[in-house]
């Protein structure tokens, strides 16, 4: 069987940072914070985060912080958004530099986005989605500030997005989708509310997502894609049903999506690689305890030692 090309993937991640001027880099400029999280988390799972200049990363992250609102933007000079605020907090956790944050201000930004029905908006413009519930809850939990929001209402809103198949959508009535399911299960897991989930029903729906090629897809009748290795697997682990899929076949599928020459992982075999799928592929392998990788926490999407560090500081 093909092996994980650890060194090639490290090289690949380090090379993207240098390609700041490619067209891809320009159009992705606004979500550079997400990209940084995907890249750095990959390096950490591959036990190689020391290869980046941490001070440079940290000073860049802090220059994306909007003092006025307390949120982080996707890049310098852009508007703050919950998506990038979570990524920034996750990166600082990875680098063990949460101390640099004004926790009060950041949690004020996040809690200010909660609506009366318990849902969360992504930013001041009010787009609502269970993705943002996860971002808010995960972020505040890392900052140990969950008491700043109405957790019970946040949970109620997520539960109101539960569907007949046991899955969750973006808003009440929205179709079940593995990405949204990860967000909802993750938020319920972090808040100790997994009892709201029909684990057997959802577990079956999730394991039905494994396709004959071994990969996982996000919805019925969709093609398998490496990123769903993360969304589906992490959800299955959180509800304790991961043994219901064929891990051997999934591992093979992910390894087949590697660019063995230049590093990186693509969505499907023989497609172009990107940092997003590289992260989700490596993280998926970590969830399946692939040898040589750091174990990743399925709810926080951070290595377990990082999670332990912010919950049990020396």
């Amino acid at each position: 069987m093909e092996e994980l090309k650890v060194d090639k993937h490290i090289q690949y991640i380090l090379s993207i940072e240098k390609e700041k001027d490619s067209f891809m880099a320009l159009t992705m400029e606004h979500l550079r914070m997400n990209g940084a999280y995907w890249g750095l988390a990959t390096l950490d799972i591959l036990q190689n985060i020391a290869t980046v200049d941490q001070n440079e990363v940290i000073s860049w992250i802090m220059s994306c912080w909007d003092e006025e609102s307390g949120g982080f933007a996707g890049n310098v000079g852009h508007d703050p958004h919950l998506l990038y605020t979570l990524s920034a907090v996750q990166i600082l956790a990875l680098l063990n530099r949460l101390d640099i944050l004004d926790v009060e201000m950041v949690s004020k930004y996040v809690s200010g986005l909660q609506n009366v029905d318990g849902s969360f908006a992504g930013d001041m413009w009010g787009e609502i989605d269970t993705r943002f519930s996860y971002c808010a809850i995960c972020c505040l939990s890392i900052l140990r500030s969950l008491d700043k929001i109405d957790v019970a209402k946040a949970v109620d809103y997520i539960v109101s997005c539960k569907n007949l198949d046991g899955g969750f959508g973006c808003t009440p009535g929205g179709e079940s989708h593995a990405g949204q399911i990860f967000c909802c299960v993750g938020a319920l897991s972090i808040t100790g509310s997994l009892h709201h989930i029909d684990k057997d029903l959802l577990g079956w729906w999730l394991c039905e997502r494994q396709c004959s090629d071994g990969g996982l897809c996000g919805r019925p009748e969709k093609l398998s894609d490496v990123c769903y290795s993360w969304w589906v697997l992490s959800s299955l682990i959180m509800i304790d049903r991961v043994h219901w899929i064929d891990k051997g076949k999934l591992t093979k599928f992910i390894l087949n999506c590697q660019d063995c020459e230049n590093g990186g992982i693509s969505d499907r075999p023989d497609n172009a690689v990107d940092v997003y799928h590289t992260y989700f592929g490596v993280a998926g392998l970590s969830l399946m305890e692939y040898p040589g990788l750091k174990t990743i926490d399925p709810a926080y999407a951070l290595p377990v030692d990082v999670v332990n560090r912010f919950f049990f500081p020396e």
Binding site: K18, K20, D21, S22, F23, L26, T27, M28, E29, H30, L31, E56, S59, W60, S63, A73, G74, N75, V76, G77, H78, D79, H81, D123, M124, W125, G126, E127, N163, L164, D165, G169, C170, T171, G173, G174, E175, S176, H177, G203, W204, W205, C207, E208, Q210, S212, R219, P220, E221, K222, H243, W244, I245, D246, K249
Partner: protein
């Protein structure tokens, strides 16, 4: 928009109306910048965007500039934010904006910012926008019937602005095109449980069961209608277990002997909730068992036999079915 696709793109630095503005490059940190020619128009547009954004210039030309910047990079949420501020300050004609956003959305139908902008606009336009928005999502769904953003927008329009009248017919239409379309099944459930015109799940149950049974019989390997059938009896498994149409469709599919996974799985649920199988049921399950010679011939319970068959016919999920077997009452 001030530049048409067939015209040569004129750099902002050579447009007289922009001569008073000093472009602001992206602050990327200490790395040296290596210019790449094909991205120059993009870069320059963004440099001018940053200039008006930082000076908070809410003018007509700033609005036009955001149109150009969005055309080049519709994913950049800061441009959208700024555009809304400008639109509000200028009290711009929202119907013009609707034309603009619909043309952008047709080309980029999987972009969060665009759909959010559409919603912001529709909210301002009010109930009169419902019909147009439903029509627009219908067009998007005619190209990609599972577009998650379009469905989400459509559900929002129905609940916030109305327009439920033809929604069940629309679901029928889509399912006629593709009975495997899970998004359309989801929308169907949304309509029968939430439409103010249909009387709710209870009123709709019987006719929906009949519709679903028909869908199952035409394609028994289709996961969606099987789940829908369960959803129609949500919170009332007894009702499911005692619905003759439901057990009937299981029997029919099992008798045909192919694509039996979902029928067996449902039968397993029915048994768990007190369904009393007739001899005919035991017979069809036995017949399925005998086609798999690797199954031992010891007389297990009916539910036990079902799990054994499932472990063989669905090997990818054999652990799941084995778990089901270990949890039989």
């Amino acid at each position: 928009m001030s530049s048409e696709e067939d015209d040569e793109w004129v750099p902002f630095s050579r447009r007289s109306e922009w001569s008073d503005v000093k472009p602001v490059p992206q602050d990327d940190g200490p790395h040296p910048v290596v210019p790449i020619a094909y991205a120059d128009d993009f870069r320059e547009t963004m440099d001018y965007f940053r200039a008006v954004y930082f000076s908070d210039e809410r003018s007509r030309r700033a609005l036009d500039l955001t149109s150009e910047a969005i055309a080049m990079n519709p994913g950049n949420y800061t441009i959208w934010h700024f555009r809304r501020l400008v639109l509000e300050s200028l009290h711009a004609d929202l119907n013009d904006e609707l034309k603009f956003i619909n043309s952008v959305a047709s080309k980029n139908s999987k972009n969060y910012q665009i759909w959010h902008h559409k919603r912001w606009l529709a909210e301002k336009l009010g109930p009169e926008a419902a019909e147009k928005e439903l029509e627009f999502t219908k067009n998007i769904l005619s190209i990609d019937a599972k577009n998650y953003h379009a469905w989400s927008h459509r559900q929002w329009v129905l609940e916030a602005l109305g327009g439920w009248e033809n929604e069940l017919d629309y679901c029928n239409e889509l399912l006629e095109d593709d009975i495997y379309n899970n998004s359309a099944w989801n929308q169907r459930y949304f309509v029968i449980t939430r439409s103010p015109l249909l009387g709710g799940l209870q009123a709709m149950r019987e006719s929906e069961v009949s519709y679903t049974v028909g869908a199952i019989l035409s394609n028994p390997e289709n996961e969606s209608p099987w789940r829908y059938l369960r959803g129609l009896h949500k919170d009332d498994p007894d009702l499911l277990a005692h619905n003759k149409q439901v057990s009937g469709v299981c029997l029919q599919v099992l008798s045909a002997k192919h694509d039996v996974v979902f029928a067996l799985s449902l039968l397993l649920d029915l048994l768990r909730h007190g369904f009393q199988p007739s001899l005919e049921f035991c017979g069809v399950v036995d017949a399925l068992r005998s086609v798999s010679p690797e199954l031992s011939s010891d007389p297990a319970s009916l539910a036990g036999s079902i799990c054994s068959i499932l472990e063989t016919v669905d090997p990818l999920r054999s652990n799941y079915w084995a778990w089901r077997r270990s949890h039989l009452p």
